[in-house]
């Protein structure tokens, strides 16, 4: 297993065009009239035959966008994608996608769903039926041809999704978080089955390009992992996985690789605290993290076996959180100075330890203090309200202010997150009916 710098892409041994080539792809999302949100920044990727490549990153890293650009579902703002040397300019032959949400048509039977792509290509009915049944058989759904998707379990639905993709004889299979909507056991079975089909060469495909946020899944399945940073999405590392198949999760080499990737994905966060989240000051865009999650995480960290310091993969397993959620919570703790992120570990600060020991009221006071000190937006709202004689303001006032600085949705999430934190800390009150934000005045102060 070796780590290559991003720019050093493998040379083409046999002189053929690479299966997929992505060069200098940048992508913006339009946000209002003036500003654009950069989601992909100068991404390069070359994929050869017989490779499984995983695009690994957190939400907002643009990895799903890249997959859609490769599939031709959306054009990149700039840059070029070729498949077998052919420029991609729209949904093309030879590609098939498996969707995270399965995207099965509920009113079509399993067989009709599988035949969909063939019908669109104008394949005659007899041949369509023959090929569809073969694909259904291959994927292990024999006997369910006439079932409707709602009669099937999640795992079986995704098998239909896979059959529908394979039946069009694609050279490249695109998978968008194919197992993330499934429970742990089902996902594992499907991964194993997919690998079996792949290794035995029973699928007509020449390569798989897969998007995931699950580090272990990436290490388990792929030959190469491209690690994406968030905001904007850039490839920050390209990792070749040389472990032999079948891979074993408890193998020390496997664990070491997973740890290494965890460290890489948190590395960028370490130097500047405010750099964790996009934007600075009050325009810092914050994710939705509940105070219950924060408190729970602090408590778990403080308890044995962690005793204040935890390896992120182990912590993720312990608290049963998705990597993305855990990162958000961990980074929020870091922003609030209750914990520090370093080298794939999360360590409680002194304040964090005190928080873990404290009772409810004490916790709220401590949280309030850190909130106002370290979250500029909380301080800003408090300041504005204090200046008003009524000590109240409409949430729309802050919403508008934030929308000048970030996309509308982010503004809403950020504002609600901060208001919820402040409600917990008893800094602010909020009336969801009228949309009024006010200062939470203690009873004694109210009489003054």
């Amino acid at each position: 297993m070796g780590v290559y710098p991003v720019t050093a892409i493998r040379g083409n041994a046999n002189g053929r065009d690479p299966l997929v080539s992505v060069s200098h792809v940048r992508h913006f999302y339009k946000r209002g009239a003036s500003s654009n949100l950069l989601v992909l920044d100068d991404v390069d990727l070359t994929m050869h035959d017989n490779e499984i490549v995983a695009l690994l990153g957190r939400s907002g890293s643009g990895k799903s966008t890249l997959l859609r650009i490769v599939s031709g579902l959306m054009p990149p703002t700039s840059g070029e994608v070729t498949i077998d040397g052919q420029k991609v300019g729209g949904p093309a032959d030879g590609l098939a996608m498996v969707f995270q949400t399965f995207a099965l048509f509920p009113w079509l039977t399993v067989q009709e769903n599988v035949e969909l792509g063939l019908e669109a290509q104008g394949v005659p009915a007899d041949e369509r039926s023959k090929r569809a049944l073969a694909a259904i058989d291959l994927i292990g759904l024999d006997g369910f041809e006439n079932a409707y998707p709602k009669e099937l379990s999640g795992g079986m639905r995704q098998r239909v999704g896979l059959a529908r993709a394979l039946v069009v004889n694609p050279k490249l299979l695109l998978m968008d978080e194919p197992f993330s909507a499934l429970d742990v056991l089902t996902a594992e079975t499907l991964r194993t089955d997919l690998l079996d089909l792949w290794c035995e060469g029973r699928m007509p495909i020449r390569g798989i390009l897969m998007v995931t946020h699950n580090i272990e899944e990436a290490v388990l399945l792929s030959d190469r992992i491209l690690v994406f940073s968030s905001n904007p999405g850039r490839v920050i590392a390209e990792i070749k996985v040389n472990l032999p198949q079948p891979r074993n999760r408890v193998d020390p080499a496997f664990r070491a690789l997973v740890d290494d990737i965890y460290a890489r994905m948190t590395a960028r966060a370490a130097p500047a605290r405010e750099g964790l989240f996009p934007g600075t000051g009050i325009s810092m865009s914050l994710p939705h993290v509940s105070t219950n999650t924060l408190a729970g995480l602090v408590e778990t960290l403080a308890e044995p076996p962690f005793d204040g310091r935890a390896d992120l993969p182990l912590l993720a397993e312990r608290v049963q959180m998705e990597v993305d959620e855990l990162f958000h919570a961990a980074e929020t703790l870091q922003l609030l100075r209750f914990a520090e992120l370093a080298e794939g570990d999360l360590q409680l600060t002194e304040a964090g330890r005190r928080f873990a020991q404290a009772g409810t009221d004490e916790r709220k006071a401590l949280f309030a203090q850190h909130l106002v000190t370290y979250v500029p937006l909380a301080a800003h709202i408090k300041h504005i309200l204090e200046e008003r004689p009524s000590r109240r303001a409409s949430i729309i006032r802050f919403q508008d202010e934030l929308e000048d600085k970030m996309p509308e949705e982010d503004a809403e999430t950020t504002l609600h997150t901060v208001i919820n934190w402040a409600r917990y800390a008893e800094v602010l009150v909020f009336d969801g009916e009228t949309g009024m934000v006010g200062l939470d005045t203690p009873p004694s102060a109210a009489q003054e």
């Binding site: 590609l95 969707f99 995207a103 079509l108 969909l116 792509g117 290509q121 998707p149 709602k150 009916e433």
Partner: protein
């Protein structure tokens, strides 16, 4: 029972929950005026071509009960012809609105207003217009009746389809693009199936309303022109004229049979069939059932024929699908050109609005003064008051009954179809009984004619409340029992909030229908006895009978204004509130 999901595709579910948008915007004004101008235009045209009407000679309708099956069939045919037209209209107009921003700006407010306007008031104009198109023939009158039914059916169906088109799930949309479905294939494999449950619900609502209109549109007298198309509506109208109560009983019986047959043979199978198009991936507990559908599914010959037809259609649709791929994409225009187009479009709308305003004003003002406007508005308030009071009375009666029934699933299963049946039954068929009663006992028509306007619409309240109560979460009702929440507190804190969104849906529908019904309910006759209540409905009905089109336009305009304002200011706000606060997900 699809009724158990009143939100699923009811016209009200189309309403934006955003309170801020509940107020009429400028497009509303444009369209509102445009519709007025259009109808004023039709009236003018009809007036010019008025002459041949006097000589119109149609087959006389007779009161012989043996004619009733034939009349019922004709009435039903008109109904389905109109439904077919509405469906065609829906499939053409809704995609246009969903695909083109410019078309959307015109179509959506237009539909929104058209579905709340009292179409009954326009009936006379459209009848005259179509008869003038085919002078001397029955065909024109037939077209007029069908068009009248169409105008009561099409808008909410189109709205529902448009709404579905704009909310197609993103992943299915992507899958369709990814597998490169042709536009034709996409329409039939994705758009139509996804829209189906909502569309079926709306078709059913349209049918219920349609029965009311078909009865009203068969026998029309405008000024001295009298048209009687063979059908149940004309039969009833003749029976009223001849004071033949026996014939009316026969007609009611025939109508009941027709509605029951339609319910069992058409509506129920379609609902049961459309259940498979729901996008929930969990199977629902109570699946709609239909013995007719089961029968069709089990009939071997029928399915063989079905397969054959399906095969033919597939081959045909394959070639259409291929053709539809050839349709070139809309030409790309630069941003500046696009903006210029936008600007030109808006300017055109503005000019059109100005012209419409001017033509409505000049038409009405030519014969009608400000005092008439005052009279129309005052009558409007009387009818408004009548509608509100009667909706309140109907609510007091039906909400407790609906809750009682809804909480008992076994009972609800039996009562719900009955309520649906009653809602579909054209209440105007029953009017004569009430009128006879009022005439016999010399009652005050201002009071006793009033219940007629909710006679047909009160059932919407009942079956929506039943639906709401039957899906009330059992954990909530169990915890209410455990905490011993009783009587008034139980109603106030537990049940009323629980059914509120459903109640608002029902009351909104009932209120809209009641305005419409006021046109036929505030003036009634039995032979030579004329009964008349004060109100805008009576104002319009009298103006129609007198052939005074200026006052009809004025009256209908004022009524439209009332309905739209009441919807926007009262019902939609309540609906938004219900959606925001009281929806149990």
């Amino acid at each position: 029972m699809t009724m158990a999901k009143p939100f699923a595709g009811s016209p009200i579910a189309n309403i934006s929950t955003n309170v801020a948008t509940a107020w009429p915007n400028r497009y509303d004004a444009v369209v509102f005026l445009a519709v007025g101008a259009l109808f004023a235009g039709i009236v003018q045209a009809a007036r010019w071509m008025h002459q041949p009407l006097a000589s119109l000679d149609l087959h006389p309708v007779s009161l012989d009960p043996w004619n009733l099956p034939q009349y019922a069939l004709l009435t039903t045919l008109r109904m389905f012809a109109a439904l077919g037209l509405s469906l065609l209209f829906t499939f053409l107009v809704a995609p246009l609105a969903a695909k083109s921003k410019k078309a959307e700006r015109l179509i959506i407010p237009a539909l929104d207003i058209l579905q709340s306007v009292p179409v009954l008031g326009f009936l006379t104009f459209t009848v005259l217009f179509f008869i003038a198109l085919y002078p001397g023939g029955e065909f024109g009158a037939e077209l007029a009746a069908i068009f009248a039914i169409f105008t009561s059916q099409a808008w909410n169906m189109t709205f529902s389809f448009y709404q579905s088109l704009t909310t197609v799930p993103g992943d299915l949309d992507e899958a369709a693009t990814h597998f490169r479905l042709s536009p034709w294939m996409r329409f039939w494999k994705l758009d139509v199936p996804f829209a189906m449950p909502g569309l079926v619900w709306n078709m059913m609502m349209s049918m219920s309303g349609g029965w009311f209109f078909v009865v009203a549109s068969e026998a029309i007298s405008v000024g001295d022109t009298k048209i009687m198309l063979p059908g149940i509506g004309s039969y009833i109208s003749l029976a009223i004229e001849q004071q033949n109560i026996g014939a009316i009983v026969w007609a009611v019986g025939a109508m009941a049979v027709v509605i029951a047959l339609y319910d069992q043979l058409v509506f129920r199978p379609v609902v049961a069939w459309s259940d498979k198009f729901r996008v929930e991936l969990v199977a629902a507990q109570a699946k709609p059932e239909s013995w007719v559908l089961d029968l069709i599914k089990r009939a071997r010959l029928f399915s063989a024929i079905g397969d054959f037809v399906g095969h033919l259609l597939q081959t045909l649709s394959g070639s259409v699908s291929h053709l539809s791929k050839q349709i070139p994409d809309a030409p790309k225009v630069s941003v500046a050109t696009g903006r210029l187009f936008d600007w030109a479009w808006n300017a055109a709308l503005l000019v059109f609005a100005g012209w419409a305003l001017w033509s409505v004003y000049s038409y009405v003002h030519a014969a009608v003064g400000w005092s008439d406007l005052g009279e129309a508005v005052a009558s409007g308030f009387i009818t408004f008051f009548r509608v509100i009071v009667l909706i309140a009375v109907a609510s007091l009666i039906w909400v407790p009954i609906g809750v009682y029934v809804g909480l008992r699933p076994a009972l609800a299963e039996r009562v719900q179809p009955l309520a649906q049946f009653l809602a579909a039954f054209p209440a105007n068929v029953l009017f004569p009984f009430v009128v006879v009663g009022i005439a016999t006992f010399h009652l005050n028509p201002d009071i006793w004619l009033s219940p007629l306007i909710v006679l047909g619409t009160q059932w919407y309240i009942l079956f929506n409340v039943i639906a709401g109560a039957s899906v009330f979460p059992s954990d909530l009702s169990e915890s209410a029992t455990l905490y011993k929440v009783k009587r008034w507190q139980w109603w106030r804190k537990v049940m009323l909030p629980g059914i509120f969104p459903y109640y608002v849906t029902g009351a909104l529908t009932a209120s809209g229908g009641s305005w419409n019904a006021s046109i036929v309910a505030e003036v009634a006759s039995w032979g030579d006895t004329k009964l008349e209540a004060h109100g805008l409905g009576a104002y319009i009905a009298k103006a129609t009978a007198a052939g005074d089109f200026h006052r009809v336009v004025l009256g209908v305009g004022v009524m439209s204004l009332f309905v739209v304002l009441v919807n926007r200011v009262l019902w939609r706000r309540l609906y938004a509130l219900a959606d925001r606060r009281l929806r149990i997900d």
